[in-house]
């Protein structure tokens, strides 16, 4: 990653922590509110940064290992930033029977990351989920908000290529604007 990208990410983290500190002030020091607090932080910033967990611990006056223990227990919480396109592959029973595992493998191979990881450029992340409740469409993958039913390995390639073309287009347009300026 280039220096510029890193600096930008650091700036983003700083702004996020600042925002979390403000959010925490709204909550009383109630141990029972731990999970809702974590949910709200993740809901807004999409993941729980290590520093954010420490801030929650300080606010609730409990040890950070306790916060970490609770947060890691539940599937909902993630500790690395997700990609711009969040890919969720359903591995519920119906999708499994119809080959959901093969779909997941294809995403992993194509993007060269494992489930639960994000690509270095933060464009894509892959997650496995258990039953999204549209078993009649199995196997299913969800990217962002869109559900893709009746998935096939060849569709995986097409989907990712679609996103990459879009990205390239955006990039070129940006360059064009910069050139004209």
């Amino acid at each position: 990653m280039n220096m510029e990208g890193m600096e930008q990410q650091q700036e983003e983290e700083k702004a996020m922590l600042h925002d979390i500190a403000a959010m925490l002030r709204e909550f009383e020091k109630d141990r029972g509110k731990l999970i809702p607090i974590l949910q709200i932080i993740q809901g807004k910033h999409r993941y729980l940064a290590p520093k954010a967990l420490k801030m929650v611990a300080q606010h609730l006056d409990i040890s950070s290992c306790e916060v970490y223990g609770v947060a890691t227990f539940y599937n909902q919480f993630r500790f690395t930033p997700p990609g711009k396109h969040e890919i969720k592959v359903c591995l519920g029973t119906a999708c499994h029977v119809k080959g959901g595992g093969i779909i997941l493998e294809n995403f992993e191979r194509k993007l060269e990351i494992n489930a639960g990881e994000t690509t270095p450029d933060r464009e894509f992340s892959i997650e496995r989920v258990a039953c999204v409740g549209c078993c009649a469409l199995a196997p299913v993958a969800i990217i962002g908000e869109t559900v893709y039913g009746h998935m096939a390995p060849s569709k995986v390639e097409g989907l990712i290529m679609g996103f990459e073309i879009e990205r390239e287009k955006e990039k070129r347009e940006k360059e064009k604007i910069e050139q004209t300026q």
Binding site: R31, L38, T93, A94, V132, C135, A136, A138, V147, P153
Partner: protein, 645 residues
């Protein structure tokens, strides 16, 4: 308090209902058509949003007046997106698999004209002499809807529609009687907890009712975690008020003033709809302080579960509300005595809560007449897998598995053979064909080695490998084990490792015995239901499909040809067409090469066995073969020059 000066709950309800009806008729135009679009998660996933947009555009384009009403789900997932069009002069008609194109066509031909487009409809929702009535089809008329009666027919965003259909009358009736009267009604109904274990609901209520405690709590458990069951979510998204009404009756009966909806955070739409429904009920005085003019108060909060399967277990669920890791606790004390914050707590499943209003309304006698003697009432199953009419089915208990799978759900697609049905999710078991005549109720299923469980039902055809299915469920429970009990934490891992070895063709003599004895140890050595039932899929598949395990271990062969390490694909050179390239592009790993006589071969070292080439090969050639064990595939060398380019 002097009760004589106050109106009774029933009187207040009658006033409320008249008011609602008046408000509804004010806006209702009898000459106007209504379009009801199923917009629960399943409908949205199949494209209901685009259908809605298409209807809106169509109405504008053709200058037609009609109301679009978003409704929940009727359970017919195979036919989504579903739309009901109610046009004056016609019976309400149900259309299946509606696309934006069909929506436009319907707007023009039916709403704008007089042609109801017979070719696109499933049937009419009422008996009439124009269009076949849906109740004439087995997928409809075998069902008995107690819990999902209004699902998919009313707008879940509008409490008025529920009240118009008689909603909250049961609550007013319950509030008008002594709690003990309601308690005995629920006891006598014989209702058993629909969360899976089948404990008598009335008895549970009795314990909480009798327990001493200032701050009793009622919790509705909507932490549906079984990978393959989604009926709770559908109920919450389609008819939230029936569940809320059930909770209010439960709270009044056991003497609680506080209730919590524990919903999975993975169900954002359900959370949104329930939160909105609670607000609406409060506004009408059906929740909050002094409900329906009585001195009964009830506050309902929503708690979002963070996704841990073990939190379906009562004690773990309580731990998670208290902000801790969701680990089960030793019982007794039961939550009925010492639950949330050490106060008596009643926890019931969504389906149990939703069964309460009809029981209070129609009486215990009525409920007992539905289904079998020992498990009265209805059961909801999400029937998925290799089945024609997948979806949610609500049937009276006692219907046989055969009737459910073949009569109601249309059997196995593509004329394949039925092999097994997995009931009860990760805690349940696999039943083979011999058990198809088992009636569906708590006791019969448990006896056969499966269980009602969460109501997930996966139908499997001849191409499903039983060892793989056992591995799938165990992989799930192993990941979800909270880690408290050693046998559950480490034992399931070892079970999984052995199964994994077997499916990779590295099974050893004695593995089956080891699986069995380890399974028994895990069952005995675990505290909660997760560990006690985790080995069930393994035990039942060994019991009924031992030969498949043996084929994997001894012959290194997967009879269903599903375990990828034990199969190989190859191209039959006698059938492959010279010069055809259909399969090449389908292969995600470029494993397919051209042989010296311009036919195709598969490089076994690159093949990931996804089966894409099978579907890509034109049916007139049908040249791709699948074999197990893999050494049956003939070796076709990649030509040298091909490697170099």
């Amino acid at each position: 308090m002097n009760k004589h000066n106050k109106k009774s709950a029933e009187d207040n309800y009658t006033i409320l209902r008249h008011d609602v009806e008046r408000r509804l008729t004010e806006f209702k135009n009898e000459d106007q058509a209504h379009i009801y679009i199923g917009m629960a998660t399943c409908g949205l996933a199949s494209g209901a949003m685009d259908v809605k947009t298409a209807f809106e555009e169509g109405l504008k384009e053709y200058g037609v007046n009609a109301d679009i009403v978003p409704v929940g789900c009727v359970g017919h997932c195979y036919a989504e997106p579903l739309v009901i069009v109610a046009k004056p002069g016609f019976p309400p008609i149900l259309y299946n698999e509606v696309t934006p194109g069909k929506a436009k066509l319907l707007t023009r031909a039916f709403l704008g004209g007089e042609d109801p487009l017979f070719e696109y409809m499933l049937g009419a929702m009422e008996e009439n002499d124009m269009v076949p009535w849906v109740m004439e089809f087995p997928r409809f008329n075998h069902e008995k809807k107690v819990i999902m009666g209004q699902s998919g027919l009313i707008d879940p965003h509008d409490i008025k529609q529920y009240i118009e259909k008689g909603g909250y009358e049961a609550l007013s009736k319950a509030l008008g009687s002594e709690p003990e009267k309601n308690l005995s009604e629920v006891l006598e109904s014989g209702l058993r907890g629909r969360g899976g274990a089948g404990f008598l609901t009335g008895r549970k209520w009795q314990f909480v009712h009798d327990a001493d405690g200032e701050n009793k709590t009622v919790i509705c458990n909507a932490d549906e975690g079984d990978p393959g069951a989604y009926m709770d979510r559908t109920i919450l998204e389609s008819n939230p008020h029936q569940v809320i009404e059930g909770m209010a009756i439960a709270a009044y009966t056991v003497g609680a003033n506080r209730a919590i909806f524990y919903i999975r955070a993975e169900y954002p739409l359900a959370v949104k709809i329930i939160t909105q429904a609670i607000e609406q009920a409060k506004e009408l005085g059906l929740l909050g302080k002094g409900i329906l003019g009585t001195d009964f108060d009830l506050e309902i909060d929503v708690f979002q579960g963070s996704g841990a399967f073990v939190c379906g277990e009562e004690t773990a669920l309580i731990q998670s509300i208290q902000g801790s890791r969701g680990m089960p606790q030793l019982r007794p004390p039961y939550p009925a005595q010492k639950g949330l914050w050490n106060q008596p707590t009643l926890i019931n499943n969504v389906k149990t809560m939703a069964s309460i209003p009809p029981i209070i309304m129609n009486g215990a006698e009525w409920y007992r007449k539905i289904g079998t003697d020992n498990s009265p009432g209805t059961a909801i199953f999400s029937v998925v897998g290799n089945i024609v009419h997948a979806g949610l089915v609500e049937i009276p208990t006692g219907v046989t598995l055969r009737s459910l799978i073949f009569d109601i759900c249309g059997g196995i697609p593509e004329q394949k053979k039925f092999k097994a049905v997995q009931i009860g999710g990760p805690s349940g078991g696999c039943l083979p064909e011999e058990f198809l005549d088992t009636p569906i109720d708590f006791d019969s299923l448990t006896q056969a080695g499966a269980m009602m469980g969460s109501g997930g039902m996966v139908v499997m055809d001849e191409n499903s490998c039983m060892v793989d299915v056992a591995k799938f469920f165990l992989d799930f429970t192993q990941k979800e084990s909270c880690g408290k009990c050693t046998f559950c934490r480490i034992g399931t891992k070892h079970l999984l490792d052995i199964l994994d070895r077997i499916t990779r063709g590295e099974g050893r003599e004695g593995d089956i015995d080891l699986l069995e004895s380890l399974s028994m140890d895990i069952k005995n050595g675990s505290l909660c239901g997760l560990g006690k039932t985790a080995p069930n899929p393994v035990l039942t598949t060994i019991r009924y499909f031992r030969d498949e395990y043996e084929a994997h271990i001894k012959e290194k062969r997967c009879p269903a040809m599903m375990c990828r390490e034990l199969i190989a694909y190859y191209i039959d050179l006698d059938k492959c067409a010279r010069g055809c390239d259909a399969c090449v592009g389908s292969c995600p790993t470029d494993a397919i090469f051209t042989t010296s006589n311009r036919k195709k071969g598969i490089d076994q070292t690159l093949c990931v066995k996804c089966g894409e080439c099978v579907s890509a090969c034109p049916p007139e050639y049908d040249a791709v073969r699948k074999v197990s064990p893999p050494n049956l595939a003939p070796i076709i060398e990649r030509p040298k020059e091909d490697k170099n380019d």
